[in-house]
């Protein structure tokens, strides 16, 4: 199989618009959590979220008008605009702007979303009920469909290769990058624009996830302390939003044009828990097999893992993942650092795996493990370094990123320093 490397990254996150601004704030230990002020939350059990900082586009703020014309924004859900923004940044970062038929056809898009345009579906439902079917906009469907993130990116940049999407809840972003890597490895494309996008900060999503008992509801008055993976006082995840997109490229293609290489995608694993619609199996076997498959594909023993970007949502499931990782690394536990960046940016659902894969690549690039914020009292003892509070400088050559989703769907990516 052909080798695949990451040559561009882009993101819109609760810490900022752009990969580098997000990364530097993440390493500083900043949190993106705050009380929601853009809609009514008094009657919701969870009143906090990690929202994208809006502004004029300077100082890391997000200005949608920079990425899509206002009249086009009106027709689509915000998750699509986030995807377009992140893809624009990733392509610019990679310096890949295909102009010839050959290059456009060799470049595909695979961007997913966990739940897509929920708020727009609610609004259209009200329109249908109150004004009748003749008032439902012709842009309702193409503005909400999850694969329209891939569609819009392909149209904007004339990317005419494989056009695909992924919907696997909170594993979406990791599956998108893994599947896109496979398309390159198998020769179906030379370049893939891959990742995930999500805009779930709306009343119906907060109500729905709270009903699943998935959200933190005890720290509405102390938002930045609410996402606390592995801590014994954690009580659920904090909703985030945004998008992460990478440019994946066949190694020789990247080398031939002198592209900057962040890391090589050497392993990808997938598994199903076959257990419960929202809870992971208590033995963590699905997570274990997923990571094991990714390492087997990479041809790297678990004892060589330096860093793991955990799924770690700040729910009861954190310790199940930790147990699976301990089983995986065995005696090598003390050499592994594992952190959950959801402690800073919240849970971006379908975008999480993509944003976290980028963090994993940057951890390799900069030899630094980002911190797990709010980890004051670990719930269980472990020899694994959970990187509490502060980023840790250390050698990182091989790193793994985990994503697990409702439905018992698991994805792991293994990245390696390209040398």
């Amino acid at each position: 199989m052909r080798r695949v490397v990451i040559t561009g990254t882009g993101m819109v996150s609760p810490l900022g618009c752009g990969t580098e601004v997000t990364w530097s704030r993440l390493l500083e230990g900043r949190s993106g959590a705050a009380r929601v002020t853009t809609f009514e939350v008094d009657d919701l059990p969870a009143k906090i979220a990690c929202s994208i900082p809006l502004g004029d586009g300077t100082d890391g703020t997000y200005n949608a008008d920079q990425w899509m014309e206002p009249k086009e924004q009106r027709k689509v859900d915000p998750f699509i605009v986030y995807a377009v923004a992140a893809a624009d940044m990733a392509l610019a970062d990679a310096g890949w702007h295909p102009k010839t038929d050959e290059d456009q056809i060799a470049t595909g898009v695979l961007i997913g979303s966990g739940i897509g345009g929920l708020d727009g579906i609610v609004e259209a439902g009200y329109t249908l009920r109150d004004k009748g079917p003749r008032r439902v906009s012709p842009f309702f469907i193409p503005g909400r469909l999850i694969n329209l993130a891939s569609g819009q990116v392909s149209i904007k940049h004339k990317l005419r290769g494989p056009n695909h999407s992924v919907v696997t809840a909170c594993s979406t972003g990791a599956h998108a990058i893994g599947d896109a890597s496979r398309l390159i490895a198998l020769g179906d494309a030379d370049v893939m624009v891959a990742g995930g996008a999500e805009s779930p900060i709306c009343r119906i999503a907060l109500a729905g996830f709270a009903a699943c008992k998935a959200l933190s509801t005890e720290r509405n008055d102390d938002p930045t302390a609410a996402s606390r993976p592995y801590d014994k006082d954690r009580d659920g995840f904090v909703m985030g939003e945004g998008a992460g997109v990478v440019v994946l490229e066949e190694l020789e293609h990247a080398k031939a044009r002198g592209a900057k290489i962040y890391a090589e995608v050497v392993g990808y694993g997938l598994s199903g828990d076959a257990y419960h619609i929202t809870a992971p199996s208590e033995d963590g076997d699905g997570a274990y097999r997923c990571m094991q498959m990714a390492l087997k594909r990479a041809g790297i023993p678990a004892s060589e893992l330096d860093y793991i970007n955990a799924h770690g949502t700040s729910t009861m499931a954190d310790t199940i993942e930790l147990g699976a990782v301990e089983r995986l690394v065995g005696d090598a536990a003390s050499r592994v650092s594992m952190s959950s960046t959801k402690s800073a940016i919240g849970h971006l659902l379908g975008a999480a795996g993509a944003v976290e894969a980028i963090f994993t690549a940057l951890a390799i690039r900069d030899n630094i493990a980002p911190p797990t914020l709010n980890l004051d009292n670990p719930d269980v003892e472990t020899a694994i370094d959970l990187v509490p509070h502060k980023a840790r400088k250390r050698e990182i050559n091989v790193a793994l990123s985990n994503s697990f989703g409702f439905g018992g769907t698991n994805a792991s990516l293994v990245l390696k320093r390209y040398a």
Binding site: K71, R134, P138
Partner: protein, 78 residues
């Protein structure tokens, strides 16, 4: 311009994001103002909402310019 023409023009400017001077009576939504087939469906819905008229699908198909829309609405309201 009549009141109806002014209101039609405003809807067209808002929905298509075009400059006011481009929106003449003879301007074609698709050929001159950059609309696609979905934009024209939405424009017709906006006209119906604004003027409280019903524009049946076969009539909508013949509304191709700003002037066509104004004429249809004037007739429907007469």
């Amino acid at each position: 311009m009549s009141d109806i023409a002014e209101r039609v023009k405003k809807i067209v400017i808002d929905h298509l994001g075009v400059d006011a001077e481009k929106v003449s009576e003879g301007a074609s939504f698709i050929d001159d103002l950059g609309a696609d087939s979905l934009d024209t469906v939405e424009l017709v819905m906006a006209f119906e909402e604004e003027f409280g008229v019903e524009i049946p699908d076969d009539a909508a198909d013949s509304i191709l310019t700003v002037g066509d829309a104004v004429k249809f609405i004037e007739k429907a309201q007469a």
